[in-house]
Symmetry: C2
Amino acid sequence: MSNNKRERRGLMLILSGPSGAGKTALSRLLLSEYKDMELSISSTTRAARPGEVDGEHYHFIDDDTFRAMAKNGDFLEWAAVFGAFYGTPRAAVEIALAQGRDVLFDIDWQGAQQLKQAAASDLVKVFILPPSLGELEARLRKRDQDNDSVIAGRMARARDEINHWGEYHYVIVNGDVEHSMEDLRAILSAERRLRKRQPWLGEFVRNLIQPF
Amino acid sequence: MSNNKRERRGLMLILSGPSGAGKTALSRLLLSEYKDMELSISSTTRAARPGEVDGEHYHFIDDDTFRAMAKNGDFLEWAAVFGAFYGTPRAAVEIALAQGRDVLFDIDWQGAQQLKQAAASDLVKVFILPPSLGELEARLRKRDQDNDSVIAGRMARARDEINHWGEYHYVIVNGDVEHSMEDLRAILSAERRLRKRQPWLGEFVRNLIQPF
């Protein structure tokens, strides 16, 4: 065998899907199982809510800093939501990918679409579906037991989100978490092996075919 | 869970690489392990050689039949080599894919390039590399122990073939067959899960989001 260092390029794993489909639980399981995977942390100009930790839930930055970074192309994507800015810092992602670590994104279809413009070949886009809307509603009711109008709003948003399933490479119907994790393991296992994620191959082939 | 039939679409698994890299051994292992995979059998106008069985090694057909099929678009790709025609019959492949079976192709880069024009989204292209050219030559010498000029010719063709590694989705350095089989299993496991190979998802999502 060769002595070439076979260091792969990391990938950007996008998990989208309606609230209640199970993205967050799957994200936690992935991060605990894959030590070479990290969660992308967004920057925002909104104030931290009680319990939110700077650098863990968000990077909390001021308006001027955000605008300067956006102007400088320092975000892979950014958007204004309810008067605050949210963005994905480019540098942390690019360092991780170059060092062979994967970056996980728990974002909706709009965030995923915007990321697509930034780095298409690095993206692995997975859409998480609930097994049924009845199941989705049951999961949401467990979270907000006494607020019907919040549930109704979330169900309407869930339908909107689900309409974008066709923009993803993979779709997982998340009926059973362990089965979905098997799907995700298979996806990661192959996506990490793609030629485009094996930058060492070029040198390996050059050494292979040079006259000896 | 749903009662939808979750029948996937098959894929076309292309194995290319220089003679001696181990394509044929890997093909045999794949076909014995995956019962829902079949080897694509080419049609040819050349005469059967001793030991070759019609419908197993090739479909042996006459020149007029070949020309009529080519004119009719019945081949996914075809070529003339040393005065004989070779082609991949379209119908058998399309039936297998529609029925959720994978079709394996043990072909060189030229055959793979021509297939690409026929059905790009069905293709999973894997290039098999030897760990070194010394190892490749040793493997070829085991086959043809007493013919240096044949070996030299094959080594020259091996370099030409290897130059096309960059046209494939995956590249496997076949130093250890069991390790390469693990790579192939991972590739198949994820490629079979791709959204585009899950035609049942469209109906599943329509049923999911219809008002209930």
